[in-house]
Symmetry: C2
Subunit: 336 residues, 2 copies
């Protein structure tokens, strides 16, 4: 099985030692990835974007991998600023304030008129807006409650490409077909787990993430659009490493680390669900190329059906399926 130019349209590479420890997990198998800007402080100036990009390139060494950079959304960005930074970024990421790791400086309230100058400028410059769509309501309702905000923004800025990031609910899936300018990323883990897997038996901190895994009917809705490679849906791992100590602690941090096993497990999932390989190819690359207009570096990942025991950790970060066996292995990477 071969996948051409796989793209991860939602990735956390962190910074410093963690960046150095985990960047290659993505760079070895993906052609490129949308890099989330929620560092401390968040990436919000041209200089910070360029500097972060250089630290990423330094961390991946000689791997062929494009970090598609994003800027941390602020409603104060004006058109002149956005024009000046347009060539350095692929998208801008909006976080509601305080909703996930390092999102304290995000948006509070979603007043269209307050956001209008920035969002109209983004629309004119064709800069996609990536949104972590959760309210601060009850944990199982946060994303469904946010759909009305997606709809309000999609209506107010019809030319703005809005990516509903890491969607987890049937309500978000339904919104995809109602608004031409709404798109979505879906993670690997939300195609595989529900809240049952996190808290139905023993509590599993390594499967704890934001948005939290939802109900069985939500997983069914997500699987449907992923397996059929709905043209508005892209793979985005939301792979989010934390040190083991931060996951197995009294207050465990949110995030699942899937980067090193994502393509192998997706191959197994699509096979088990009898979805054609071309759909997987579209889900992990083609759809993203169309939606974002990116042209990834040529790289072909050859997978073989050969059991692989996932390591218990990668440089201190526990991956999904740690110590378990998965069906597919990476056989070869072909460059160029």
């Amino acid at each position: 099985m071969q996948l051409t130019a796989p793209l991860d349209m939602h990735l956390h590479l962190r910074d410093g030692e963690m960046l150095d420890n985990i960047a290659k997990s993505s760079a070895q198998t993906f052609s490129g990835a949308i890099i989330m800007p929620n560092l401390v402080p968040p990436v919000s100036t041209k200089e910070e974007v360029i500097a972060y990009k250089n630290r990423i390139l330094n961390a991946i060494g000689d791997e062929q991998f494009t970090p598609y950079m994003t800027l941390f959304f602020k409603p104060t960005y004006d058109k002149a600023f956005l024009e000046s930074i347009r060539d350095e970024i692929t998208a801008i990421k909006l976080y509601p304030a305080g909703i996930t790791t390092n999102s304290e400086g995000g948006v509070s309230g979603f007043d269209v008129e307050e956001l209008r100058p920035t969002l109209e400028a983004m629309s004119e410059l064709d800069i996609p807006l990536c949104i972590h769509g959760e309210t601060n309501g009850f944990v199982m309702d946060r994303e469904a409650e946010f759909v009305s905000i997606y709809e309000r923004l999609a209506t107010a800025f019809p030319k703005l490409k809005i990516i509903m990031e890491h969607i987890t609910t049937k309500e978000s899936v339904a919104a995809l077909d109602k608004y031409e300018n709404l798109y979505a990323t879906i993670t690997l883990h939300h195609l595989l787990i529900t809240l049952d897997d996190v808290a139905g038996g023993m509590l599993k901190p390594h499967l704890f993430c934001k948005p939290i895994a939802k109900r069985p009917e939500d997983k069914v809705a997500l699987l449907k659009v992923a397996l059929e490679a709905h043209p508005k849906v892209m793979f985005g791992s939301d792979s989010a490493p934390h040190p083991r100590e931060a996951k197995e602690a009294c207050g465990c941090a949110a995030g699942v680390f899937t980067a090193p096993i994502a393509l192998q497990v997706l191959a197994e999932l699509f096979e088990n669900e009898n979805a054609p390989l071309e759909n997987l190819q579209a889900f992990v690359s083609g759809n993203a190329q169309h939606i974002y207009g990116v042209k990834p570096l040529p790289k072909t990942v050859v997978l073989e059906k050969k059991p692989f025991t996932v390591p218990s950790s990668y440089n201190g970060v526990v991956p999904m399926y740690a110590d378990e066996e998965i069906a597919y292995s990476i056989k070869e990477i072909i460059y160029g």
Copy 2:
């Protein structure tokens, strides 16, 4: 503030070293408690009941405290056996197979005719049936799905007292008023937390329990019947100690340890909600005396409004509110 003869109608005292470590946490402040039988192996013979009771009495030393013993339900118990054990037990506890800690030997399927001989004998001998009411469905639905089984049993055995243990949903609360022979225990933690507290911010393993904390509207329904001291509702802490290592682990065990702080926090809760002291007295003792027909040892707990910093652990077990300040302290215990 004084509480007379407080009773904990759902308590896990465990066995061995853990029993020795935590028994006094309950025995110092409560007059008595219903002791759950889910040891390994479960308590299911007369000899085991008597031996476990003696180990408990040994662990509590000279505290005035009655362990109301229970038997682990098996559909094979016949009337002769139940008659022989009647004086040693206060109730029989039924676990669906595999639903919580050490419940592997529980009931699979709830066929009324299969259960009839045992349940009719219990009914004739006036032995209450305590049930952990969860199906093996999706974690947020398990208890609501079980309500139809409660209803089936309540209808089939109208003279059998059925206690819906540690209820967590508005559906269970609603069932209370529909069937004369359905009663319920409610824990402290389910009056205080929802799934938001467990998984809405960081993941909190020390608040992870079975049944899992539910939605805000469920908490509202539980609070209502607790604060008004609905006559069919009793306090049952479900205090369930695990060693710290088992809670802060990759697969965290279910259970919240509340025994040492339960009365103090209940006092604070009822005060904050403007519920009269007599309701708290009924919730923590009077209702249980009526429902079970027990006559607890005389013991009066004097609480005072004086901040108390909850220890970070009691003999290696992390309590609810560890290292936090609560408003009430135990001032004095008056015996006799």
